[in-house]
């Protein structure tokens, strides 16, 4: 749909990354990635979470230094030591987390770091609004930033980069904060910038948006380039989705099947709002039976976190009802839910699940401190005995029960958290990304604990971004995308491709299947 100013074949390359390698402790994020972006084009960089997109773009923007590999900008070999180097070579990045100052005006935010020595407010605002108009960015330069919507703030971030005259703009998942009409507007703005001869790299995993906005696509999977410079118009969305998720991985070690019992948790038309006031999910209905693990698959940010919050009672629902063991708990407090048998393993272990500066013992009794007291006092010995019991049963390796919990490793933190939650003998467990960031042993231990609970008749909801994990241990798989269940699969028979397409496509694309 975008008419490039010149024929794509003739245009020079704005960005060439060849054989880029980057490892972090324990992970190789980029293993020989190649990327070529033509000058004046909008280039989609596609891949699942953890495919290495963000790492690669942080290398291009000077945030990370590559272990090896070559970087050419407009044909010239470059080595960036910091983001300022990249900016002066004409590369700017809009990060997912905006770096803006709420109390400053739009113009002040735009010029910060690249301002004239003496500021004449009117003059600066005029210049900023000229720049904004040139690219169709509708913002008032004199308005304080805190009054702006997320979509408008994104425009300010783009303006910041244009103000420094960057020729290559990297947008990291720019549409996650936007409403659908803002997405269309962004597409128009990007087209204008491309027509102006600037090159845009658009990181995304929403295929329908990419096909409307971008010219070409590069697909990464597990740190490698699996397809480069695919012309979007002539490429099937399904083909792109398959490139992103890859073909079936081994689904070894499936646990013995278990016969599920009666429904324990029922969601009837639940809806809620996300942190930014937009709908996180709407009219969600499903039920979880005793003795089954129900997997919620999906790319991060499609309503899974909010779903876990609503079930745990940490976020109010806007409509619908939630029933546990046939009792309506839609408006019940988290404490009530816990006492009626709901265990919650939150995604953010140290922020939501545990208190980082409190001791291991204090964290262990956080849920049940009422049982460890006499009058208003906590009985230290009783609390310690309780803690030791959990530590022993769940294999937490720790020396100092009175030391701060933040000193524990990720795996041990999670064991303590899971142990604390499971100790209440729950009938429902909501586990949000319970194995993320753990080592192989830790992953296995947590998975085994959840399977053990399932076998003893507990209903388990497991939210994970790791599709292979869900295909291995879940009994049923629901795919969530844009706050809607896009499909239900039987993990024993489902193909990874089909699930992947449901995760990545929007509703329209799914109607073909």
């Amino acid at each position: 749909m975008n008419q490039a100013p010149f024929s794509i074949n003739d245009s020079a390359l704005a960005v060439e990354l060849s054989d880029v390698w980057k490892s972090f402790p324990g992970v190789t994020a980029n293993a020989g990635v190649n990327l070529s972006v033509r000058t004046g084009s909008i280039h989609a960089l596609l891949g699942e979470n953890g495919a290495g997109k963000s790492t690669l773009m942080n290398i291009l923007a000077g945030v990370y230094r590559p272990d090896s590999g070559e970087l050419r900008i407009h044909g010239q070999s470059q080595q960036f030591r910091n983001p300022a180097d990249a900016l002066s070579a004409g590369i700017g990045m809009v990060h997912q987390e905006f770096r803006l100052i709420p109390s400053f005006s739009v113009a002040e935010n735009v010029i910060l770091g690249s301002a004239p020595r003496v500021l004449r407010t009117k003059q600066v605002e005029l210049k900023v609004s000229e720049l904004a108009e040139r690219f169709g960015l509708k913002v008032d330069p004199s308005q304080p930033l805190w009054q702006l919507s997320m979509g408008e703030r994104q425009k300010v971030e783009i303006l910041k980069i244009l103000w420094r005259n960057a020729q290559v703009l990297i947008l990291d998942e720019p549409t996650t904060v936007l409403t659908p009409s803002e997405v269309d507007e962004l597409g128009e703005i990007l087209t204008k910038m491309a027509d102006d001869g600037r090159s845009i790299i658009f990181i995304s995993h929403k295929l329908h948006e990419v096909s409307g906005i971008c010219d070409e696509a590069t697909v990464l999977r597990q740190g490698k380039t699996v397809a480069s410079a695919l012309p979007i118009e002539s490429t099937d969305q399904r083909e792109l989705a398959q490139l992103m998720v890859g073909t079936s991985a081994s689904t070894a070690d499936r646990p013995e099947p278990n016969t599920p019992g009666a429904p324990v948790l029922k969601l009837n038309g639940l809806s809620t709002l996300g942190d930014r006031g937009l709908e996180a999910f709407s009219n969600l209905s499903f039920q979880v039976n005793a003795g089954e693990i129900i997997g919620i698959a999906g790319v991060a940010g499609n309503g899974q976190r909010e779903l876990a919050d609503v079930i745990a009672g940490l976020r109010p629902s806007t409509s619908g009802s939630l029933l546990m063991n046939d009792a309506d708990i839609t408006d019940a407090s988290p404490q009530f839910r816990f006492r009626s048998g709901l265990a919650y393993i939150p995604e953010d272990r140290l922020g939501v699940g545990l208190a980082p500066r409190l001791s291991i013992t204090d964290n262990a009794i956080l849920r049940v401190y009422r049982q460890q007291r006499r009058g208003p006092f906590i009985l230290a010995e009783k609390a310690l005995a309780y803690c030791k019991d959990i530590v022993q049963r769940f294999g937490v390796r720790s020396a100092d029960f009175n030391g701060p919990i933040a000193a524990l490793s990720g795996g041990n933190l999670q064991r303590l958290l899971v142990g604390r939650e499971l100790d209440g003998q729950p009938s429902v467990i909501v586990a949000s990304q319970p194995t993320r960031g753990l080592d192989v042993q830790g992953v296995k231990a947590i998975q085994e604990l959840l399977i053990e609970q399932r076998n003893s008749g507990v209903a388990v909801i497991m939210i994970s971004e790791d599709l292979d994990e869900l295909l291995t241990i879940a009994d049923r798989l629901l795919v969530m995308e844009s706050g809607i269940i896009r499909g239900e699969f039987d993990p024993r028979t489902a193909s990874r491709d089909a699930v992947g397409i449901a995760m990545l496509s929007d509703g329209q694309a799914m109607t073909e299947i």
Partner: protein, 310 residues
Amino acid sequence: MTEASIIGLFVATVSFGALLYLAALGELLAEKAGVLNLGVEGMMAIGAVTAFIIGVELKNPWAALLVAMLSGALLASVHGVFTVGLGAEQVVSGLSLTILGLGLAAYLGKDYVGLPPGAELVPVEWGGLSDLPWIGPIFFNQAPIVYLALLMGIAVSLVLSSTRLGLALRAAGESASSTDSAGHSVLGLRLSAVAAGGALAGASGAYLTLSITPQWAEGLTAGRGWIAVALVIFGAWRPGRVGIGALIFGGTLALKTRLQPFGVEFSPIILSMLPYVLTLAILLIISVRARKRPSPAPFGLGLAYRREER
């Protein structure tokens, strides 16, 4: 109640106002850059004692003022290095600075207690202007530091609002990480703001011993540094409003010592409380309004900044 005593009250109001304004401007600079410095009282005391000592020894009031500003800046830099450089807790470090400054001032000044001043900053004559009724004595017959305070107020206001330096400084106080990623040195900005603030607090102290009460005694600052800290909040971190606040708070200081001549039966202790009561009232207004708009306090005030590992 004579006309002369009313004029005298206003003269004292302006001169106490200037005293508070200088110190408050310094605190405002540091806070705008994100560093709370509760050591104003200590820096004022150091400024007061060094100005007096240099005055006695060198008989030159300008050298005395300069040394007072340098010592204020030096003491403030201790706070700067601890909080900005090493990430120490700003409240604790600032309070320590007050205690350290007061103690150090008492130690340095112990041989100078009760001595006559060696140098004074005498009121400036503005020719015919100084002879105007009321206005002349109140505005055009003040010590040079009063005019310095006014100039500094205008300068601070202009630098903050319309220079690149001011923009960067305010940014450092709002969001250190944004400032850093925009290519400014948060460390440099904060350290210089704290040092400049200390110099202004030192000048304020010098004004005490070179003009208002030209002598040295322990405890001479008498809590005025704390009023300056409150003044920054009262003035909602804006140099102009802080100036107006300085005149109001200066008025309460002036009134305190002049109640008896006026024949008013009113406890001066109540007057001493007034600046703090007013500041609490402003804080209340700010927090009520905060539901609709962000607080005027710099968002990153009091937060140490360490760049994440990259």
